[in-house]
Symmetry: C2
Subunit: 388 residues, 2 copies
């Protein structure tokens, strides 16, 4: 397998984008990525797209062909592949796109992630998100994701002394970062008190512990690393890719405070990249709920199991901390159009490693990590990237 | 890229399987495939699954993780990938599984295809299938697939003199083959008169010109070809894999009587396999409607454009014909659980190339082809297989 680099990226604003359709969003992200890479559409060999549930959100399956068509590739007849792994669909698209270039089958592929979540009414967004849980054993009995992550959070509080204040600090940090990101859904700072006093969704998670329902898209261009310098002075190499699965339902796991899928995917990715967790300069992790970021930094090996809450308290993950996490604002503040998230994480890390993250730039960042979770952790996809 | 072989397969019965769930179906197919290959679950490196719309049919997304879980892989934490390309989801799963073995990333992968379509009520099955068409330009205005393929059929009749009798003979042949397949949904022969006099769905397509709504699953085990003989005396090599896309809506195409996606995917697959259409001994093609089989044999180069109807009339595609097509019964008689279809096509060809197709065996078959279409031809995935 050969090396693969990211040579371009395109991001739409994330948010409640009433005036933009699914097609417009992915076409915008794709066009920006193609422009950023300085390639022509004809040079693209294949297309991968991650979308969790276009079938329910907008009544459209056959998403690969749709995206190829509305992005203007129907005349080149390129292979178009849609992958789905719930909220990790974007990360999975990156991994499958990476694989097709690494294998030598294709030289240049575009990888997109997109979701249009705000065109449904009532509880349909929550119900559709709940299709990422176990339909027969969780969703059928009324479980939704805030409830599932709330169970994880209460157990983490019981086992390790994590507090609501620790959780709240994840949201506070990510909103502070989001305030520096012009594409973020929420570009304003919040306080610990705001989080603690916000309406309760499922104890101990208030509404400000939860990522929002969002529209948005992101695209990146992947290229064989040995050809990347032809297109850009700042290619970013994918040096590790890990993926793992776990039981779909929480009740099947030995310990709900550890996401084994993260542990296994991280092991694979670190080994491939030949690095240790301490070598990571910046990370985008899956903070669909504040507790999820605490699990992530533990399961990725940034801190010991149980110390995530206290580590956040010590500010080691802030922009000027030891290991800045979710500089983009994370799912919490940047927004979480589920299929787009995993691709957007890679785009943020590429910006950081190119030194183009503007007010949220991490000084001297050379190696970054992305961590994308499906459901309550039945899927995890991790990538490690390095400036070339 | 290295060679890849099929070393095992498992098929459930296709039909209206009221007593079997999505999970039971894919677990049954997967277990049978693992037994057939004589491997242990621990030897499996990754899982790929094709499903068109579990989100709408059974309220379940996150299909890769679900299948890994219910097939007993949650403790090995293997990567689980769900792909979707409407009715070509199964073929796409084969192609992505093939790619991961060909690349060297994995040695043994299981590829499944599954759909549970009969648990919805009223017109919901048709409406969900219509999400494979262009939602904004076709489905929104009331177009469903029988209507779209009827437009193709009437144009083909106008351009080339194809008749309703030609169409009917596709159904008659495929029912005759299905009568020899114990897993087929319809195991009875029908007559031309049955087709012509059946209730009209959308002129010129009567209900017997249409494939049914079905439940079912199929799985195959893919293995690096150089390791295949360790597991089986009869490995079947994948010698060509082609995929192409086209406009999602029919109106965007220059000529609706040619599926350009088939033409392009076939070109790639033939080139990779280094063979000509005349070298194919047996083929499974995508006969979601009778007209679709006529298009397929033309676009695959078995006969000239416009001569498909007449070729069927001359019986060149029957079991003892020049190029037997849809020996399994095809989508028409075997059934069409959409996500399973592309995998089931490969399973049938593997049976043929192993000489295990029983009463429907094509004598001396050495090279076979599968042709899987998404929607009205916006996606096509083709594989060519050869006995090793």
């Amino acid at each position: 397998m050969r090396d693969v680099a990211v040579i371009g990226l395109g991001i739409t604003k994330f948010g409640e984008l009433w005036d933009k359709s699914f097609r417009q969003l992915i076409a915008e992200a794709g066009s920006k990525a193609i422009l950023d890479a300085g390639i022509s559409g004809k040079e693209i060999d294949a297309l991968y797209v991650g979308s969790m549930s276009a079938g329910r959100f907008i009544g459209q399956e056959h998403v690969g062909a749709l995206v190829a068509d509305c992005a203007g590739f129907s005349h080149t007849h390129i292979p178009a592949v849609r992958v789905e792994s719930a909220c990790a669909s974007g990360g999975l698209a990156i991994r499958q796109g990476f694989l097709t270039v690494a294998s030598g089958m294709n030289d240049i592929v575009v990888v997109g992630g997109v979701e249009k979540m705000t065109d449904v009414v009532g509880s349909e967004a929550t119900n559709t998100l709940a299709t990422a849980a176990d339909q027969e054993w969780e969703a059928f009995f009324g479980a939704t994701f805030p409830g599932l992550y709330a169970m994880i959070a209460t157990r983490h509080m019981y086992e390790y002394g994590t507090t609501r204040e620790h959780l709240a600090q994840v949201a506070v940090k990510n909103h502070a970062n989001g305030a520096l990101n012009p594409n973020a859904q929420f570009q304003r700072e919040i306080s610990i008190e705001n989080v603690l006093n916000a309406i309760m969704v499922s104890y101990p998670l208030s509404i400000l512990d939860c990522s929002p329902v969002s529209d948005g898209a992101t695209a990146v261009i992947l290229c064989a690393a040995d050809k990347a310098k032809k297109y850009t002075d700042k290619p970013v190499k994918i040096i590790g890719s890990g993926q793992a699965s776990d039981t779909l339902a929480l009740h099947g796991r030995k310990d709900i405070c550890t996401l084994e899928a993260t542990v296994h995917a991280a092991k694979t990715a670190y080994k491939q990249a030949n690095i240790q967790p301490k070598d990571i300069d910046v990370a985008e992790v899956h903070d669909c709920f504040t507790i999820a970021e605490i699990l992530a930094i533990e399961d990725l090996g940034f801190v010991k199991k149980g110390e995530g809450g206290k580590a956040i308290d010590k500010k080691i993950t802030t922009l000027d901390g030891e290991i800045p996490v979710n500089t983009s604002g994370g799912l919490k503040a940047k927004g979480h159009p589920v299929g787009a998230t995993g691709v957007a994480q890679v785009a943020e890390i590429v910006l950081q490693l190119r030194g183009e993250a503007d007010k949220r730039q991490v000084d001297g960042a050379k190696i970054g990590l992305t961590h994308n979770i499906g459901g309550s952790g039945a899927s995890c996809i991790i990538h490690i990237l390095e400036a070339m």
